[in-house]
């Protein structure tokens, strides 16, 4: 029953931003049934004003595997209204002639720490890792997000319209991640993607065992990583059963509010994963460890949505395809730590060839600015290995596939009628090193225009500083 309550609250969250009740009010004479609030920090994002816009005679990667040469797209009311060789052009529409230019869906980065590790990267800004215990499922990355981080604006100029901000990987359970619209706000809530599910960031491998092993505590080994994580999941299952039992009894009138289990914030998050309301994003490098993680997820009955970094995904690409788990990888990072030693440039291509959901991610405030270029490099390596990778398919690696990994593919990630008008106009073919975004629309509103200095956002931090408003 608690599932239903939570589901109802989530639905509410998607439709309105009015405060929701913390508990279901009882009918007269019956007991109050306490429930865990689904979204106590609701999105206050709102789309900015847009005008009906037609971009025509433009080459298009539609983000779902299609390409149109000399096509057109109409953006209307913040949505993609029409896409094709030609589209209807209302009299009031702003018309952009796109000869020689390309149009794509906005880039989505499934792995970012912008806001949590903002610039300048001084110690006082280091808010990405609550490295005080291996299970910190109670912390939420959004509560570290500094909306004045100038790095958001650089990502915007690189065509990023949506990003997922995760806690770091010091902990086995790093805490909740949050999906943001790349539209600067005064608060993190202003940037939250309405209705997007939160995630739980988990990490395997070197980081957790190093961080805690060096403190003389568990986990200190890879076997410790799995053992600690399994105990946490087992405890979360108990928590879930306590809430289900209480809810069942309360609904039947046999439990008082004081019988409700004590809220345990870490277990709230873990229970959300077990219930499918929170997506599991798993940092993991090595193939053998990813296999262990998959087995653990089956033992406790949750789903790994995406393996992040997954430097050795190419070794188990078939397994990831079979398990329907996305691999979010870099194009060519390797060798910076032992578990990244076997990185190869064909990693993404091998995942794609095996039929797995392939994502290029950044995990980096510089890389996020050029995810198109990272995808281009990864695809080129794959083609040289003999894997056919047409560019229109590859664009999915930075748009529709990360949207799938974040559970927002119904709203963004491709240029399809009814989806959010998250769109980038490029001044050339977007997989070329010589191309850069010219205009970026988010929900149909122009949030970046390379030709208009007033459409180049400047954060509070940058005011009065050298370089303010410069072309970056």
């Amino acid at each position: 029953m608690r599932n239903l309550t939570l589901a109802a609250l989530l639905l509410t969250a998607a439709c309105t931003t009015t405060p929701r009740p913390q508990a279901n009010r009882p009918a007269p004479g019956s007991q109050e049934v306490l429930a865990i609030p689904a979204d106590p920090f609701p999105s206050t994002y709102r789309a900015y004003p847009s005008v009906t816009t037609v971009i025509r005679n433009v080459n298009i990667y539609d983000g779902k595997g299609g390409k149109i040469i000399g096509g057109a797209v109409r953006l209307e009311n913040g949505k993609v209204a029409e896409i094709g060789q030609t589209v209807a052009t209302p009299a009031n529409a702003r018309i952009i002639e796109g000869q020689g230019k390309w149009l794509t869906p906005g880039i989505i980065d499934i792995h970012s720490h912008l806001g949590d590790y903002p610039a300048p990267g001084v110690q006082a800004h280091s808010d990405g890792n609550e490295a005080t215990g291996p299970n910190r499922s109670e912390v939420w990355a959004e509560h570290s997000v500094w909306p004045q981080d100038p790095q958001f604006t650089r990502a915007l100029a690189g065509g990023v319209t949506t990003l997922h901000v995760l806690p770091g990987s010091a902990n086995l359970f790093g805490g909740r991640g949050v999906t943001l619209r790349n539209v600067l706000g005064r608060t993190a809530q202003d940037m939250k993607f309405p209705g997007a599910k939160p995630s739980l960031k988990m990490a395997c491998g070197e980081n957790p065992k190093r961080v805690y092993g060096s403190k003389g505590q568990s986990p200190a080994t890879r076997m410790g990583n799995i053992a600690v994580a399994r105990q946490v999941w087992s405890d979360a299952q108990s928590y879930k059963r306590r809430w289900e039992d209480y809810t069942r009894r309360a609904k039947a009138g046999s439990a008082k509010p004081t019988d409700a289990p004590r809220r345990e914030l870490a277990n709230d998050t873990l229970m959300g994963v077990l219930n499918g309301d929170i997506l599991l994003q798993q940092h993991c490098y090595r193939a053998d460890e990813m296999a262990n993680i998959i087995a653990m997820s089956k033992e406790f009955g949750y789903k790994v949505t995406t393996f992040h970094h997954a430097v050795e995904a190419y070794k188990i690409a078939d397994l990831m395809a079979r398990e329907n788990i996305c691999g979010a990888v870099w194009a060519d990072w390797w060798g910076f730590k032992m578990e990244s030693y076997d990185g190869i440039n064909e990693n993404a291509a091998f995942l794609q060839a095996a039929g797995a959901c392939t994502v290029i991610h950044s995990d980096d405030a510089d890389g996020i600015q050029r995810l198109n270029q990272e995808a281009a490099k990864a695809a080129a390596a794959g083609r040289r290995a003999g894997i056919p990778l047409p560019p229109e398919l590859v664009w999915q690696w930075v748009s529709l596939n990360p949207a799938k990994g974040l559970g927002i593919a119904d709203q963004t990630g491709s240029l399809e009628p009814g989806k959010r008008a998250d769109v980038v106009l490029w001044n050339g073919e977007p997989f070329s090193v010589y191309s850069r975004p010219e205009v970026v629309w988010i929900d149909g509103a122009v949030m970046y225009d390379s030709a208009d200095p007033n459409k180049r956002p400047v954060t509070d931090f940058e005011l009065g500083q050298p370089g303010k408003g410069d072309t970056k």
Binding site: A119, P120, G121, V122, P150, Q151, R154, E206, Y314, K315, D318, W330, D332, W333, W334, G335, F336, K337, M338, S340, Y341, D342, G343, I344, N345, E346, F350, A353, A354, A365, D366, G367, Q369, R370, Q373, A376, K377, A379, A380, A381, R383, A385, G386, N427, F431, S432, V433, Y434, S435, R436, S450, P453, F461, E462, Q465, P466, G467, D470, T471, K472
Partner: protein, 427 residues
């Protein structure tokens, strides 16, 4: 497979690369349908189809391909760390050592490092490699390496001294820039004193000296201007402060490294005739010394007349030497962004070939010219483009293997053919 390795010519051969688009690296227009002749480890001819192919030369048909000088990484950590985070394999830092300026990175260069082949496959043939400062502002002396397969990796020992005088220098020196400058001036004055009277250091150090004898001796060529001094600073203010050091130490052969706010003082850098090595992609205000970071930095510096080379300045996977060609390409793109200042294609190519070679005093590489070292790369497309890759690489005239540990991993897992034995039985 083994046979193929042994069949590799171990010595320089005579090669004619014909029909390609030849880029000399000297910022002149590419030669379409050009010819490059390699013999005895040197370039013996560069030009159009009129250049004669020597009898018996191995001919490489480069039709549809590009031919360039080998890429020269203006800074890197190639060969100095196998796995950055595994201390046992990382020779760049020595935080437990009492030494600083005297540290010579040469014995730390591992010719068997897998990073050499991996970076080589990105077209890199030479690279400057630096130690990293840990206990003192002086990091020690870096090298220029060859990325050729073999045991002869170090091309130039003690190619430069490296010092930190920005935020890093302040922290290393004890907490402030004034202390960093004090350390610097004290060290160089000790070097002057040592040069005049080495005997005063017979007990390891001079009576009131802070530096060890080895360190102070290492700074003598720096203060005399016989060894180039690479100074890492980022802010406009720090850059001017470093340039001003030459009023006290007039012979310093300065090279500025980092200089993310260089564009703000580009005329002063140009007037001082000090070259710079930049990592040109950084445009976030990551620190208070780099608030004005922009990808227009390199373009604005070049426009002011500064000799600019590109390099990798941090040990971090997000930037790798094998992608320097792409960073150069991004500088071409920057010129097309309204308000941005970038480079022409030829200027961009120069920042990764002849500019770094000139900065490190290697006049015999970095461009395709007669009698130059035959460091030559043949590419399957525009070398600055993301989709391009080398098809042939020559270093000192020796054809290099086009394989690495990574290509062997790739080939093992390509197609995931799980057959009748574990993958470990396939190689």
């Amino acid at each position: 497979m083994l046979a193929a390795v042994f069949a590799m010519p171990a010595t320089a051969e005579t090669v004619a690369i014909v029909g390609g688009t030849v880029v000399t690296g000297n910022a002149d227009a590419p030669i379409v349908g050009g010819t490059v002749i390699i013999d005895g480890g040197k370039i013996r001819g560069v030009g159009g189809s009129d250049v004669a192919v020597p009898a018996g030369a191995r001919v490489i048909d480069a039709k549809g391909k590009w031919v360039t000088p080998g890429i020269f990484a203006g800074m890197s950590f190639i060969g100095a760390a196998e796995v950055n985070a595994v201390d046992d394999t990382n020779e760049t830092r020595a935080s437990k050592s009492p030494f600083s300026a005297a540290i010579d990175l040469s014995p730390g260069i591992n010719s068997a490092s897998s990073s050499i082949a991996v970076e080589r496959l990105g077209g890199i043939t030479r690279a400057a490699v630096t130690p990293i400062a840990s206990r003192e502002i002086f990091a020690g002396q870096g090298v220029v390496i060859s990325l050729a397969k073999g045991l002869d990796t170090v091309t130039t020992r003690q190619a430069f001294q490296f010092v930190e005088l920005g935020e890093n220098g302040a922290e290393t020196a004890g907490g402030s820039r004034p202390v960093a400058y004090l350390n610097f001036r004290n060290a160089l004055r000790e070097a002057i004193r040592y040069a005049a009277n080495p005997g005063a250091y017979t007990e390891g150090r001079d009576r009131d000296a802070l530096l060890t004898r080895m360190d102070v001796a290492a700074l003598v060529p720096v203060v005399k201007g016989q060894q180039r001094l690479l100074v890492h600073v980022e802010s406009a203010q720090d850059i001017l402060n470093v340039l001003a050091l030459r009023t006290e130490f007039e012979n310093l052969k300065l090279v500025l490294v980092g200089v993310r706010e260089g564009w703000r003082v580009a005329p002063q850098i140009a007037a001082a005739r000090v070259p710079v090595i930049v990592q040109p992609m950084l445009d976030n205000p990551n620190s208070f010394e780099a608030l004005a970071s922009t990808r227009s930095n390199a373009g604005r510096l070049v426009a002011a007349g500064v000799n600019v080379a590109l390099g990798i300045l941090e040990q971090d996977a997000s930037f790798q030497a094998r992608n320097l060609t792409h960073y150069a390409g991004n500088l071409v793109a920057q010129a097309k962004v309204p308000g941005g200042v970038g480079l022409t294609w030829a200027q961009a190519m120069r920042t990764i070939t002849s500019a770094p070679a000139s900065i490190f005093g290697m006049s015999d590489t970095g461009f395709l010219g007669s009698a130059q070292r035959a460091d030559v790369v043949v590419w399957d497309g525009d070398p600055l483009e993301l989709t391009s890759a080398p098809t042939d690489i020559f270093i000192d005239g020796v054809a290099q293997p086009m394989t690495s540990r990574q290509t062997e991993l790739r080939d093992r897992y390509l197609g995931l053919r799980l057959q009748d034995a574990p993958l470990a039985y396939r190689r």
